[in-house]
């Protein structure tokens, strides 16, 4: 469905928190329509800004620990991590121009 790599509760520390590159985690689930809608847009953003930003996906059904730790109560939620810290949270499916402007500082 998506080109983005999956991360899990088990791999979160190494894949996301220890990432040297700025990385955005898309919290999603199979049953969430808006998640499916935003997924191809995130893929496009990832491809167009591959040098600046990594985009990975975390399935909240399979990985409830991480979703709970970051207080995700609405999906899709996109969180940008830098040096293991959340530096930006975007909630809800949005059109590409809106997402790009919210993420502008990480894409420039």
């Amino acid at each position: 469905m998506s080109a983005a790599r999956d991360v899990t509760d088990a791999s979160f520390a190494t894949d996301v928190l220890a990432s040297e590159k700025t990385i955005m985690v898309d919290f999603w689930a199979e049953w969430c329509g808006p998640c499916r809608a935003v997924s191809p847009i995130l893929d496009q953003i990832a491809t167009e800004h591959a040098d600046k930003l990594d985009v990975v996906k975390l399935n909240v059904d399979d990985n409830p620990e991480t979703a709970m730790k970051y207080q995700v109560t609405s999906i899709p939620t996109m969180k940008v991590f830098r040096g293991g810290e959340v530096v930006k949270t975007v909630i809800g499916a949005k059109p590409k121009p809106a997402l790009e402007s919210e993420l502008a500082e990480f894409l420039a």
Binding site: W31, A37, I75, P97
Partner: protein
Amino acid sequence: MRELVIIGSGPAGYTAAIYAARANLHPLVIASSVEFGGDLMNTTDVDNFPGFPEGIMGPELMTHMQKQAERFGAEVVYDDVASVELEGPTKRLTLGNGEVVEAKTVIVASGSAYRKLGIPDEDRLSGYGVSWCATCDGAFYRQKTVAVVGGGDSAMEEATFLTRFADKVYVIHRSDKLRASAAMQDRAENDPKIEFVFNATVEHIYGDDLVQGVGLVDTVTKEEKTLDVSGLFIAIGSDPRTHVIHGQLTLTDQGTIEVRGRTSHTNLEGVFAAGDVIDPSYRQAVTAAGSGCVAALDAQHYLEAVAATPELHTQTA
């Protein structure tokens, strides 16, 4: 230039697309980039759309409608309409990606958008316990207590759906009479997890990082009370989505696009409207679909009339 562009991809938009495609108008459907498929994409079982005796899932129904339209040559783009110029014989629509589409006719089927409560902290806690979509967010409230605001069908559906996860679901309604259909009311009233709070409005949402409670005011006694809830689902109706056509199409007092009688004709030649965006009263998937059919037929007849007597229609340009 295209014969017809349809703005919107709910039941109205796709039904218009099916009829227009079958009339060889090769319609372009501008489906929206993230809200394609319309409101039914956020529902679960649809039990009142004729032809599905066992019911059908909302997203599945919309996929069927899209496939049916595409089968006859409708084209679908997943983008949003940023602006429109609807006057004159050539309509121009600018999409989110900057592309400009020209068409002889336009059907506006842009639907409606969820209404907000308009109280402090609603935006701040949106996504942190305040939600407009139980099917999207309900699963995060396992064994918790949540509240639904509203008294219509969508509020009953949200409440009933939330009982799959939550231990307790309050339904807060500003009067003592629900607007929901009898079938939906019965189901909610017979659910042991659902408790109704009548004659109450939500005035406050409490919580620093996550919703922890709501402050209610009794509409009769003016008494205030607090409910401890981890989630607040807002289902108080929706408003017609008209921002893109503002200042060009005439609106009614209710904010819907004004159409002539039982037709889909707006105040501008060659511009038609269908679905929730013209409907302040019924707003069902099946009424939207019917209205989409009307718009496609009106557009088709208009195009035939223009082709027959072009001089009558170019003067207004």
